[in-house]
Amino acid sequence: MSTHLAIDLENVAKTYKAPFKEAIPALRGIDMKVHAGEVFGLLGPNGAGKSTLVKILMTVIRPSQCKGTVLGQPVGDKYTLQRVGYLPEHHSFPPYLTGRQLIEFFGAMNNMKRAERKRRASELLELVGMDDWGSKKLKSYSKGMRQRVGIAQALINDPDLVLLDEPTDGVDPMGRRDIRAILDHLKDEGKTVLVNSHILSELEQVCSRVAILVKGKVATQGTIEDLTAGQERYEIQLAPENREILTQFASDTAEVNGATLKLQSVEPKDVQPIIDKIRAKDGTILSIRRTRPSLEDLFMQAVIDPETGEELGPGAARDA
């Protein structure tokens, strides 16, 4: 296990068992590495085991099998949690507390001194844009406001590692932009952030590396560049009225999709003859782009069963 890894997991498994009920394997051997100082995205369809994995790291769920470290200490070490911040997906904070009281309370739960708690709470309320609402009771907050305060409580102890489970859930577009800015801020401060989210476009903007969980296993993990390596291509888009021109180019290395031609090549010399042919037929080229698959494309690739070609449905790995 390397010490420069914030999270280093080997063969983490969890099977939910209940008397007189069928055992449900939620995680079937997770191997995952999160480097210190990076923003790491954890993706996967519903029921893939993302929240279970995060909860195991936070000692909320006991693993059936687990070998690994968090910040260099064995998973489950309570003392290490003093250096970790966590925002659960379905949190519910006491409505009788104000935003400031909530943040300070969790500061105390992290054994922080009173003066330090007060100072950090003020800083964090400003960071999450809630400084005007700090003295108001949580029961008067909207979902987005509670989410912002939730992020603040996760950061109260100035953690080295932050785990955010669906941080943008219920947050409006402006709030999402603000949360992205907070993630960038954390990254600049050298914090390690693990984000579990369904909103792939957001993760693509902030994550250095991602892992995609499918049916309780890591289907793929790495940087987006690594994962898309060899999948770059040229796309030529014609005016819609010229779409018939493209039919002659369809082949094993070129796919026609409406008025767009997708070439499985990154070589400019392979594109030139095609441009000539289109122009010779008086076709109007709207754009020529060099593209790579999006995170959504990667996600969809991961959740498609390579044997059947069918999408792996939601739910835990009951039938895996």
Partner: protein
């Protein structure tokens, strides 16, 4: 570590503060103490808000100090704190564990550097904190009001704080286990009240059986004493009569049963009465022992509260009440002819109270705390093992 504990207690205070029930209980406690202040005794009887109600209980029959002690025990503790305030406390604290487990708070709490066992025990203690706070305020107010009204300052009243908190903890441990099992505030509250009702039934059965058994023992004793005297008198009467008839009998002669019966025709009824009373006593004993054994594994809520009277009331105080209550009591009466025994109710009450009060402290508190420990061990084990 201390920071976390203080934070959890402060949070519990804030939660209580936000609940109207906390303040309602406090206001009602204040009203109860005010009632102490409004009531008193003078030479004619009981006084209330300046009015005198003529009564046998007056400052001649008992001291004002005893009057207020009794008022505190019978009204303040036995009715207010152990019934009404306890129900309000159960309602106020019923949600501590269910809301922690189901409200989405548990994930955040467990992600902090605090062990599950310590979190569980601290949360449990915050529940007792509610009762401790209420009882403490009640006792402080009572000591002042009683002291100012009667001139007697009774610091022993503060014994009510640990005793009532321990009493509540028996019920709260059950409610905690049920809260963890059901994760429902309403279900855990209702089931705890049902459990309390079962305890009440067992306790009432115990007290009734003890009273009946003691009564039958006293009856058997009184009737057998009466039989012994009647036998002696009948023997003497028979010997005298025989001598008058010219028979020579020495003083050591022991008449047969038939001869005794011929001298006193009521003797068979007396013997039957002794046998009946002894049979009743014999039949009641296994039932009394059975209920005692059943109570051994259950929390002794009644006896725990009675501990306060045991330590607050002196023997002199108790005697004063017994004298007052048995002033018109005719005592145990045995019908000379039929042998029927009417045991004095004051004697039965005294014997039953003695039998119950003589139960050892380890049995009252030790086994009850043992029950609580088992409840908490199971609840803590479940709390430690559950995936949230």
């Amino acid at each position: 570590m201390l920071t976390q504990t203080l934070a959890l207690f402060y949070d519990a205070y804030r939660e209580l503060n936000s609940k109207k029930l906390f303040w309602i209980t406090l206001i009602l406690s204040g009203a109860c103490v005010a009632a102490f202040g409004a009531v008193g005794i003078n030479e004619e009887g009981i006084t209330a808000i300046g009015f005198t109600i003529p009564a046998p209980i007056n400052s001649i029959s008992i001291t004002p100090e005893l009057f207020y002690k009794t008022l505190f025990l019978n009204l303040g503790i036995s009715i207010w704190l152990t019934w009404i305030a306890t129900v309000l406390a159960l309602v106020s604290t019923a949600g501590i564990f269910p809301s922690l487990l189901t409200g989405g708070q548990i994930e955040t709490m467990l992600s902090k550097p605090i062990s599950r066992t310590r979190l569980f025990l601290t949360k449990y203690t915050t529940g007792l904190f509610f009762v401790g706070l209420q009882v403490s305020l009640f006792c402080v107010a009572s000591v002042f009001v009683i002291g100012l009204r009667s001139g007697a300052w009774m610091p022993e009243i503060f014994l009510a704080i640990p005793i009532v908190v321990i009493f509540f903890s028996f019920l709260f441990s059950v409610m905690t286990l049920l809260g963890i099992l059901t994760r429902s505030t309403i279900a855990s509250l209702l089931l705890t009240i049902l459990f309390w009702f079962v305890l009440f039934i067992v306790n009432a059965s115990d007290q009734t059986l003890v009273a009946f058994h003691e009564s039958s023992k006293l009856s058997a004793q009184a009737s057998s004493e009466r039989l012994e005297t009647a036998n002696e008198n009948a023997a003497l009467a028979y010997i005298n009569k025989a001598r008058e008839e010219g028979r020579e009998l020495d003083d050591s002669y022991e008449p047969t049963t038939e001869e005794l019966d011929s001298a006193n025709v009521f003797l068979p009824m007396l013997r039957q009465s002794v046998e009946d009373n002894q049979n009743t006593s014999r039949k009641l004993k296994p039932w009394r022992n059975g209920v005692y054994i059943a109570k051994t594994v259950l929390p002794k809520t009644g006896e725990t509260i009675n501990l306060l009277a045991k330590y607050v009331m002196s023997q002199e105080d108790l005697d004063a009440w017994v004298n007052l209550s048995s002033k018109d009591d005719p005592g145990t009466v045995v019908n000379e002819e039929t042998g029927e025994v009417q045991v004095s109710s004051a004697e039965v009450n005294r014997a039953a109270a003695k039998a119950i009060n003589d139960r050892p402290l380890w049995w009252v508190l030790g086994t009850s705390l043992g029950f609580e420990a088992v409840m908490l061990l199971i609840a803590c084990w479940l709390f430690r093992r559950t995936d949230f």
